[in-house]
């Protein structure tokens, strides 16, 4: 089983009305690999990510997770999503629940773990992201960086095999970006399979096994961070990199 790519995307298209957001993307991700996806806004990178766990249903094409083809069967999707953690740009913590309850809710109703076990796992994950002392606090009382770390802990508490990050630091004040990236780097070290949409080039250099540059709904270039930064092959990649690495 381990030689099957953990994520396989085959000729996937996604249309929103007249907008053709993803135009025939194919992608394989090996277990334990970290892929960072970059590209201009509207290039379809977030949509690609959201199709991997079927938060958006692809218009055509196939998504395979651990050798299973995803269908629209809700039962299968719930099971698969439980194995895929997702972190959002705007955190999306549950504001009516405390931090610990946020981290425990899905464990209890999806994984059916008893309260004591869920709280033990939840506290362990809060320690992993460095904020066990905020367990009893409501998300509204946390800084953006702290909220995003709780969101990561909430995803990790499900023991996912894959983590998807959809621009996890884009909504953060600059001084809070590092604490989130540090948590993500620690995850990389632990061997997590990660698909990350982000323009944090420092993180990409340090952590990515591969980088994907997307434009206009297609994968333009897929290579190592070293090659992408030092000798990008495509003109569009060069142009984009010159724009985001302007300093």
């Amino acid at each position: 089983m381990n030689d099957v790519p953990i994520i396989m995307v085959k000729d996937m298209h996604k249309r929103f009305g007249d907008v053709h957001a993803v135009q025939g993307v194919s992608l394989e991700v090996e277990r334990g690999k970290v892929i960072v996806i970059i590209g201009p806004s509207g290039s379809g990178k977030s949509t690609l990510l959201r199709c991997v766990n079927h938060l958006e249903t692809p218009s055509s094409g196939e998504i395979w997770i651990e050798g299973d083809l995803l269908t629209t069967n809700p039962h299968q999707l719930n099971q698969v999503r439980a194995e895929i953690g997702m972190v959002f740009q705007l955190f999306n913590l549950f504001p009516h629940l405390t931090v610990l309850e946020n981290v425990c809710l899905a464990q209890r109703i999806v994984r059916k773990r008893p309260r004591s076990e869920a709280e033990r796992v939840g506290m362990a994950q809060l320690e992993r992201v460095g904020i066990p002392e905020k367990a009893a606090v409501y998300p509204g009382q946390l800084s953006g960086g702290q909220q995003q770390r709780v969101a990561i802990a909430r995803a990790l508490a499900m023991d996912p095999k894959i983590m998807l990050f959809d621009e996890p630091t884009s909504a953060l004040d600059p001084e809070m970006i590092k604490e989130v990236l540090d948590v993500m780097l620690a995850l990389v070290k632990d061997g997590m399979t990660m698909l990350v949409v982000s323009h944090e080039m420092g993180f990409a250099r340090a952590a990515a096994d591969e980088m994907i540059f997307m434009d206009d709904g297609k994968i333009v270039e897929r290579t190592t961070p070293h090659d992408l930064f030092n000798n990008p092959r495509e003109e569009r990649t060069k142009l984009f990199l010159s724009q985001i690495l302007h300093h």
Binding site: N53, N78, Q79, R81, L90, L93, F94, A106, I109, M158
Partner: protein, 292 residues
């Protein structure tokens, strides 16, 4: 804040007259309208209790307080269930469910409440009984006799007018509350549903544990106000001869010709009830705001 207000050139009015002193400010900000209502109630209460004719009317009408409250509370609880189901139905991905929910809401909106009460009491309920009878016959034809006998034995007259009145109010308010719940659910950002689903929760689980707790909290003040309205609208059930406050007042006025005594007392009773309930709603609102 205070510094900017006094130094602002747009607010000269605040610098002169009573409003300029702290005590004056506080006097202006008092809810004078509310003090007015309380004074009216107190004045009326003294009048009702000290004048024999008014007091007699009050002794009659107060018997109906329980019926008014029981009718309102029962109908309201049913309306909440009906409204929640319909509100969720309005947002269903299933076209049939969505349209049935919309049809119900629009039908109720298009018919005056008084007419709907007559309709449900004298057309809807008998039709429902007929339906149960035919269902009973069908059970009988497939040899399910115990069930059939129960259904066949149902009498139209066995459904008391109070029950019909409660059904009618619940159906009417269910349609209003459906829109309240729908607005509440739609006020919750789409990211909440996405986060819940990405953790493997089903749609129903996400609704129950993530969306609804937040949505209901948001619409609690609106639900409270609708309950106050329900108490007032429950007076309409007097047309079905349900002996609520209004019906008893009508009977009293009709038999004694003391219209003034009956209807002043009745109005003051409703006003007292709704003022107390509104205070409760305001208290809930304040508590919710503090928790934010």
């Amino acid at each position: 804040m205070a510094e900017t207000a006094t130094s602002s050139p747009i607010k000269p009015a605040a610098q002169a007259g009573v409003g300029s002193t702290p005590v004056g400010r506080r006097l202006i900000d008092l809810p004078w309208w509310f003090i007015g209502i309380v004074l009216v109630i107190l004045w009326a209460a003294v009048g009702i209790l000290t004048r024999p004719n008014f007091n007699e009317a009050f002794q009659w009408i107060k018997v109906g307080i329980v019926t008014t409250l029981v009718t309102s509370i029962t109908a309201y609880l049913l309306a909440i269930i009906l409204g929640l189901v319909t509100g969720l139905g309005r947002m269903s991905h299933n076209v049939v469910i969505r349209n049935i929910a919309r049809l119900y809401v629009e039908l109720v909106r298009g018919i005056p409440m008084l007419v709907l009460i007559f309709f449900i009491a004298f057309v809807g309920v008998p039709a429902g009984i007929d339906l149960l009878h035919s269902l009973g016959e069908w059970f009988g034809s497939i040899g399910f006799t115990p069930f059939a006998n129960v259904l066949a034995g149902l009498e139209n007259q066995a459904v008391p007018m109070l029950a019909r009145a409660i059904i009618a109010l619940a159906v009417t308010y269910g349609a209003f509350l459906a829109e309240v719940f729908r607005a509440g659910i739609q006020s919750i950002g789409r990211g909440q549903m996405e986060a819940a689903r990405s953790l493997g929760m089903g749609y129903g689980q996400a609704m129950r544990f993530v969306i609804l707790p937040q949505a209901i909290r948001n619409v609690l003040p609106a639900l409270g106000n609708d309950f106050v309205s329900m108490v007032k609208d429950s007076s309409l059930v007097s047309v079905l001869a349900v002996r609520d406050m209004t019906q008893i007042a009508r009977l009293y006025a009709g038999s004694t010709f003391r219209f003034r005594e009956a209807y002043v007392t009745l109005a003051v009773l409703y006003l007292t009830m709704t003022v107390i309930l509104s205070l409760g709603v305001a208290a809930i609102e304040r508590r919710l705001r503090k928790h934010e």
